[in-house]
Amino acid sequence: MPMRVAIVSPEKEVWSGEADMVVARTTEGELGVLAGHVPLLGVLVEGGQVRVKTGDSTLTVEVDSGFLSVTKQGVSILAEHALLAGTD
């Protein structure tokens, strides 16, 4: 079941779309989010990576300190700087 994912930095929306799973590292440890996750607000570690999985492909985004916000509507990642590192 896909969910809406948006990765936004203050200067622009870096990426948004549908995805199956988001993997990020918060200050408490690595975390995977699937659709239907409980609402969650997490602080991401500095210089971490966020992986967005859609089907077989994985999008990797370098994120420099930010937040992960999970709601019923989807996942949004707020990062001061976010850079698409590529897909594979």
Binding site: A6, V8, S9, P10, E11, K12, E13, T26, T27, E28, L31, V38, P39, L40, L41, G42, V43, S65, F67, S69, T71, K72, Q73, S76, L78, E80
Partner: protein
């Protein structure tokens, strides 16, 4: 007579080159408005999201955070004045500085000692000329402020607000004076207090569905500690972007009227130059005719 004609022509040439310059500045400013507006639009998703998250947190926990706590007996207030680096923008800077003056008076009347922070070369020179001490100066980005600039300013302000060394240097409030972009024709200088933050825990669900009951990682306090400074930065970033858009709009308008005025002047001087040339010709003819008549009478 011919001397006057030359003088008019010289002036026309000089005004023509001025007009070319103001016209170019007008066009540049016009394209900058478009860019600035695009930046404002691009910053909106982040600002909206962070506002949403903050109000969600505020509605489910009682926030006790230094950044949101009103100080009892506030004695010192910082003002951040957002102006431009370059002039030739009509009343843009004068309006901001006038609004700041009003705020200064108000704060003094409330018994608070104002501390000034300046963004943009114009505010820096204005206050330095009047011998006012500036607690901080930030220059070089007024037309194209990036998030890093906003962060630099916000960090300095937050550090001063939370100054752990105690009473001596700490400010109890932070205000920002900037120019709100209404549309191309109207920009409004406004003053807002940004710290301490006022977060209303509203019972009504905001547009976009009810706010979710969040779980926090690591903890509500930990999230808030990280979130509130980002929120202040985001607010400041928005203020800087609005000001940049307003600056370009004000400059475009000022340069448009300068171009129009130059056009008017060229027209007037062209008329006068034509009249002077015609006068010269008329006079020459009458001299020739007069000379010929005199010769005819003699012979």
């Amino acid at each position: 007579m011919a001397g006057q004609l030359r003088e008019y022509r010289r002036r026309i040439r000089s005004i023509q080159s001025t007009k070319k310059i103001t016209r170019a500045m007008e066009l540049i400013a016009a394209s900058r408005i478009v860019k600035a507006k695009a930046r404002v639009a691009a910053s909106r998703p982040y600002a909206d999201e962070i506002t949403r998250v903050i109000s969600a947190v505020a509605s489910q926990t009682t926030i006790r955070h230094p950044l949101t706590t009103e100080r009892t007996d506030p004695r010192r207030a910082a003002i951040l004045v957002v102006t431009s680096d370059r002039g030739l923008a009509g009343g843009y800077n004068a309006n901001v500085l006038r609004r700041t003056g009003e705020l200064l008076e108000l704060l003094r009347a409330e018994g608070k000692e104002p501390v000034l922070y300046a963004v943009g070369r114009k505010a820096v020179t204005y206050y330095r000329f009047r011998g006012r001490e500036l607690a901080g100066e930030f220059i070089g980005f007024s037309e194209q402020p990036g998030y890093d600039n906003a962060k630099e300013v916000a960090d300095a302000l937050i550090a001063r607000f939370l100054d752990p060394s105690g009473e001596s240097d700490r400010v109890d409030e932070i205000h920002v004076v900037y120019t709100e972009y209404v549309n191309t024709l109207a920009q409004r200088p406004v003053a807002h207090r940004i710290l301490p933050l006022v977060l209303e825990a509203t019972a009504e669900p905001p547009p976009g569905g009810p706010l979710p009951q969040y779980e926090f990682e690591p903890s509500a306090e930990g999230v808030l500690d990280a979130l509130l400074p980002r929120y202040v930065e985001s607010r400041l970033h928005a203020a800087l972007l609005e000001s940049a858009a307003s600056e370009s709009a004000a400059r475009q308008r000022a340069m448009k009227s300068a171009t129009d005025n130059a056009g008017e002047l060229i027209k007037t001087y062209t008329r006068r130059a034509n009249a002077a040339r015609q006068d010269a010709i008329t006079q020459e003819i009458s001299e020739i005719v007069g000379g010929a008549n005199a010769l005819a009478q003699v012979s």
